[in-house]
């Protein structure tokens, strides 16, 4: 038999849509576009918020001290995981510690590994001082029963390998003692080891013919924790005053400022996405309302016939909502599915493109985003049908039939 003779009420809506495939397809495309922007935009924005949150939590330090001219490099390490190596005199450790308001200061030694067998991306090796460190060490103490020995490393979430595996850097093997969760920041592509192990890794690198000159007692950066009664901005200002800013050979970087810069950029992006989504939402409702209204005029005779056959006004309105609901549902699901298909597998490309910390949401957050996007885009169809349904509720059926004949 041609078509399904076993007709049920909802089939009336389905048949009407099927027999106008271009019109139905166009409407579905519009809703799909809306849900694509809504879901895709919010997924990216959410991932960026997660990344910024991760950066703020993982950074730990209030102030970073790096050699002059390397303040941009340190942002690259933190935000984008771009390995870098720079050095300054370790005597700054004592001078910074003496500044009023500094509660703790600890050195870090950075070594860039451009090709490690564990990873498809460049790795940043970070040596830290177990005695003074207040960022990595406290976390290690919660994750590890003992201290981190010379042959052990702590790896970021993006490094391939699990706890107990061995990774080789510059021909020397290290055991993974702990693995951090993904943060969406540069820490994900970092490997932490104690300062002695880091100096030995640098020697290994030179022994392999690598070009690296680390002056004796040099460090790459100092991380500073400010006393709770002081502000990071105030202490940074004092350091710049004390050490002749611009001529001292060091630069004082406010960690808060890095996070704020990222947050600021993010706010601009989120505002743009939100505006675009809102505009598209209003546009979709308006276009669909116009199309449904035009359709209503075209279908007056059809509605009149249904009324003559005994359909109630209420069920006729239900039919109109059913049609718009099907359009909305198919469009919403298609848009969300397509956005997920395009965004989820390409997170590393997006991370590179936006040059900001990027961390995809958890399963729970993801489900929430899907539900919210579906709900908002699904609402478009029924909302757009409101006007048409009001017109259907009014007037005699005969008037509708006669108008449809004109």
């Amino acid at each position: 038999m041609n078509g399904n003779p076993r007709l049920v009420f909802s089939d009336i809506a389905v048949c009407n849509l099927k027999r106008k495939p271009f019109r139905a397809g166009g409407l579905i495309f519009l809703v799909a576009l809306l849900s694509f922007v809504l879901f895709g935009g919010s997924l990216i924005a959410f991932s960026l918020f997660n990344g910024t949150d991760g950066l703020s939590k993982r950074l730990g330090a209030d102030i970073l001290i790096v050699p002059q001219g390397y303040d941009q490099k340190v942002e690259g390490i933190l935000l984008r995981g771009e390995p870098s190596a720079f050095y300054m005199d370790a005597e700054w450790l004592g001078r910074i510690a003496d500044v009023e308001g500094v509660r703790a200061v600890s050195p870090q030694l950075l070594i860039a590994s451009l090709n490690a067998d564990c990873c498809s991306m460049p790795i940043q090796l970070i040596g830290f001082d177990r005695e003074t460190d207040f960022v990595v060490e406290p976390w290690i103490r919660t994750a590890l029963p003992g201290a981190l020995s010379d042959g052990e490393i702590v790896v970021g979430g993006a490094i391939t390998g699990k706890v107990g595996d061995r990774l080789k850097f510059f021909e020397r093997e290290y055991r993974i003692a702990a693995k951090m969760d993904n943060t969406g920041t540069g820490f994900d592509a970092s490997v932490f080891m104690n300062m002695d192990a880091a100096r030995r890794a640098a020697d290994d690198f030179v022994a392999m013919g690598g070009s690296l000159t680390i002056p004796a007692d040099a460090v790459s950066s100092l991380i500073v924790m400010v006393d709770k009664d002081y502000t990071a901005d105030g202490v940074s200002r004092r350091m710049n005053e004390d050490f002749d800013y611009g001529n001292s050979g060091i630069v004082v970087v406010s960690a808060k400022k890095i996070v704020n810069n990222v947050s600021g950029n993010l706010r601009v992006l989120v505002t743009f996405v939100a505006l675009l989504a809102a505009l598209l939402w209003v546009l979709s409702v308006a276009v669909l309302a116009i199309v449904f209204s035009v359709m209503l005029n075209e279908r007056k005779r059809e509605f009149g016939i249904l009324r003559a056959l005994g359909i109630t006004r209420k069920r006729l309105v239900k039919l109109v909502f059913l049609e718009s609901g099907i359009v909305s549902l198919v469009g919403s699901v298609a848009g969300v599915f397509l956005a997920a298909l395009l965004i989820l597998p390409f997170r590393s490309y997006i991370h590179e493109a936006v040059r900001m910390p990027y961390m995809q949401p958890s399963i729970g957050q993801f489900i929430l985003l899907v539900a919210a996007s579906l709900l908002l885009s699904f609402a478009v169809g029924p909302l757009a049908s409101l006007l048409s349904s009001r017109r259907i509720r009014r007037g005699d059926a005969y008037a509708v039939i006669r108008e449809g004949e004109l």
Binding site: N2, P5, L7, C15, I305, A308, G310, K314, Y398
Partner: protein, 221 residues
Amino acid sequence: MILEARAISKEYRRGDTTFFAVDRASLSIAKGEFVCIVGRSGSGKSTLLSMLAGLLTPDAGAVLFDGRDCALLGDEAISRLRNTRLGYIMQGYSVLPNFTVLQNVILPHVLFKREDDPYEKALALLDRVGIRPLADQYPARLSGGELRRVSVARALLPSPDLLLADEPTGDLDAESAAAIMRLFAEIAAAGTAVLMVTHDTEATKGVDRVLTMRSGRLAED
């Protein structure tokens, strides 16, 4: 009486003037009676029929279906009445293009939930009007006469107490028109009241009663 109209009127506005499309029309039809209203185009026949079918509210007077005043019924009740006890054949083609012939015939059954299976009955009705082989065709492939027969089969699906037909033979050839009229006579003989309006006086042969409509006024011949 299955249907009674008591001095019903409908007034329309055309430009600055108003006129009565139907002016104090009264009639009554008993079960099994075959009544025909004849009149020229624009005499108010279709307006009268729409008021009798509960599709249009009279400005004055009352329409009683099986003793119940239709004006007092809510939309749910009047729609159910149209769906279950009344067959209405509209003027022109009233077959929905998105559905097959068979789906068009069972459409009234879908609009209100019922327990019985309409398919055998629908196929039997298509057989009765001579278009069963076209059951799976879409209306675009049917001739004018065939479309009219689909409307007739659909109107008969609920086994109505009253069949209202607006120009059912309007654009049919003589043979098709005669077949429709024979069918109506059979339906009436089986107990269904039939009220037909037409401008074709030839179509009144064999009916029980003929009423004439002129300028909205109804008179018995």
